[in-house]
Every structure is written in C-alpha cells, then in structure tokens.
Symmetry: C2
Subunit: 195 residues, 2 copies
DNA sequence: CATGTTCTAGAGGGTACTCTCCATATTAAT
DNA sequence: ATTAATATGGAGAGTACCCTCTAGAACATG
C-alpha cells in the first residue's frame, strides 16, 4: 500500500561510489548524487538521514563487499602461510576488478566523515575492524609470530602492504600492472618469514 | 620603504599544517587559516594567489622538509642495504618527531588539490618525485634487483612500507609505538632480500 | 617632512551545498 | 471508491566559504 520507489538505494550508492572515485569523498554531495541519477534532492533524504548517513553507507557497503572475499582467501589454501599469500593476492585482484571501490577504500573511513556517522553504522564499522583484527591475530599465532611486534608485522604483510601496492598505482590514475598480484604475494611471503 | 608584515608566511603555513592534521585538507580554508592566526582574510590573499596556491605551498614545504633528511639517510650507512634500512627508519623517526606534518604526508598531493596548483608549484612537486624515483632506481640497481618488478619491490620496501606503518597508527590517533623504527627496518630488510 | 610602497582591515558579492517543507502522485488493501 | 502509506518534485531558507575591493595604516628612503 505504497507508491513504489523510482530510485533504488543501490542505484544511489553506485552513483556515490563513482563520484567518490572521481572527485574524492568531498565530491559526494547530496546534490551531486541526486543529479547523477536524475533524482530530486528531496528523494535522497527519504533514504538517508543526511549526508553523514549516506557517506557511511557508501563506505560500509564497499568495505563489507571487500571483506567477504578477503576472509575467504585468508582461510583458503594449505596452512596459514598460503592463506596469507592468498589474502594478499585477493586485495590486489579485487582492486583490479573493482577499481572505483578500491579507490574508495584507499581513502579510509575518516575521510568519509566517520566522526559524524550515526551510532548504528559506527557499530557496523567497528565489527568489521574487529573481525579483521581477530583474523590477523589468528594468523600471527598460527605462524608463531608473537607479541605486539609480531602482530604488527603480520598486519603489514597481509593488509597494509598489498594496499600500498594498489595505492601506488591507482592514485596515479594508472591501472594495476599485470604482475601486481605476483609482487604482492612475494612481498607478503617475505614479511611472513620470521625475522 | 614598506610597511613590515604582521604575519609571516611561515606562521600562516604552520597554522595550515595544524588545520590539515586535525581536520584534513578540506579543513584548510582561507578563513580558517586567517582566523587561526588572527589575521583578516584579505591578508592571506597578499601572500597566496588563492586557496590552491596555499595548499600547494603547505604540501611542498612539508614534503621538501621531509625529503631533506630522507635522501641523507638513503646515502648513509655502509652499502645500499644499510642505506635502505636507514631510509625506512628515517620515515618512522621523522613522523615521530613531526606528527602533524606526517599526518599531512599521508594524504597525498591529490587531496591537496594538486589538479588546481599553479604551474611553478607543479614543477617543484614533479622535481621532488623525480629525485625519489631516481634514488630508488639507483638503490635497486646497486642491489641487483632489476626490471619493473624489482624497482617496484624496492619502492615498496623503502617508501610505501614505512609509510604504511606510520599510517596505521597516526590514522587511529595514537602515537607511534616505541618499536616502530625497529619493525620498519626489519620489514624493509626482508623486502630488500632478493626473492 | 614628503613620498612611494607594502601591508592591514574588513565589508560584501557570488557560489555551492545541506536540509526542510509541502503539495502532489502512485500504489495496496479495505 | 476510499483510504492509508509512501514517494516524488522542487522551491527556498540557512550556512559556509572563496575571493575581490577599497580605504587607510605603517614604514624606509630621499
């Protein structure tokens, strides 16, 4: 018993992703998103409580989409070492097939106005972070890398390093080179070797 | 034969750095900088052609200040391997003593409106980038790491990896842990070992 | 002291964006 | 058909910011 929506939420978020990739988070204005899909600005405020809520949703949908495959990769393969390599590879491969979303990930939640997010979305973000931390800690334990220093080294190996590799290229506007997955895997492996 | 300035350029840039570190590049507005030092907005336009010029100057002063010590570190030590380790260490140590400037570096020139910069400042930025590329290429050659893949691996080792380590902590608002330099050096060394 | 130069001081126009509001339209269920 | 629920469509108030512009203050030099 209601008028059907002309604009799907996912359609609005797609436009927001495109804008964020092209002009940065600050380019994701309510009017820009509305104009991109041909909707009046009022319609946006039926879906999102305000700009912070929209930015949070764009960020969370992207991160959660990324993490889905990331955790699967971490658990894959034969043993923790292979899982780490696969995870590193996944970061690069996913970025290759989702260049706009990857560009978005490189900004970080803070640039998407995290400080202004509504309670519930902050919770979702925290939960994702916790899951990553837990997975990294489990990997570090399985590899015998203990202590604060070991944990941080594993984080660098399976999270920050592959992201750095992606950043280096995407920020320059170039696509990822063919050998990127290979390089990420090699470097991750080198860092996972106990020093 | 002129009235002495009440506001030094460096004083304005200092305020801009503080604002950028706290609120991001978008927080560096002309009025915010003016208000931070107690100057009228008009005075800012005597020093800088406009907002893009101010942002460019903030970025360039910071990057050039950082690079000064970075190149010295790269050339220091005994052989290329030690130079790479020292450079990695320098990134972390400099970030520790210059937390605000480091936060600024983590954003990247693009976020500081690089696309709108005046010609001359674009040139300065390019020159800095070229010097880094050349130094990294020289290091890769001395280490016997050849080809596109080797070059990129060395870049990751002595530039992106230590920056990632810094980013992980500073973006969370925490200071760098005591062992950060040590960890950076170890990881860089692991990556500089030919795979 | 007179002069020319550089700077301060701050008002205000122009622009872009966020968000509110309300009349109107569309649908499902009664 | 009526009604309740939900959406559109778009005008416009409020706000923040960039930048310009003019008047005059402060200083070194002749």
């Amino acid at each position: 018993m209601a008028r059907p929506p002309r604009f799907e939420i996912s359609q609005l978020l797609d436009a927001a992703v495109r804008l964020a990739a092209e002009h940065g988070p600050s380019g994701v204005t309510m009017s820009a998103v509305a104009q991109a899909v041909g909707a009046p600005s009022g319609s946006l405020y039926h879906r999102f409580a305000g700009r912070p809520a929209l930015l949070a949703e764009v960020w969370l949908r992207t991160v959660e989409g990324f993490q889905e495959g990331y955790f699967a990769a971490l658990r894959s393969g034969d043993g923790p070492r292979a899982g780490g390599r696969a995870a590193s590879r996944h970061v690069v491969a996913w970025s290759r097939t989702h260049p706009q979303e990857a560009a978005l990930l490189l900004y970080g939640a803070h640039e998407f106005g995290r400080d202004d997010w509504p309670e519930e979305q902050l919770r979702r973000a925290d939960e994702g972070n916790m899951r990553v931390r837990a997975a990294v800690a489990a990997l570090a334990g399985a590899l015998g890398l203990h202590g604060e220093l070991g944990l941080e080294r594993v984080s660098l190996a399976v999270v920050d390093l592959p992201l750095s590799l992606v950043r280096r290229h995407l920020r320059g506007g170039e696509p990822l080179p063919a050998h990127a997955e290979e390089l990420a895997e090699q470097c991750t492996d080198a860092l996972l070797t106990a020093g």
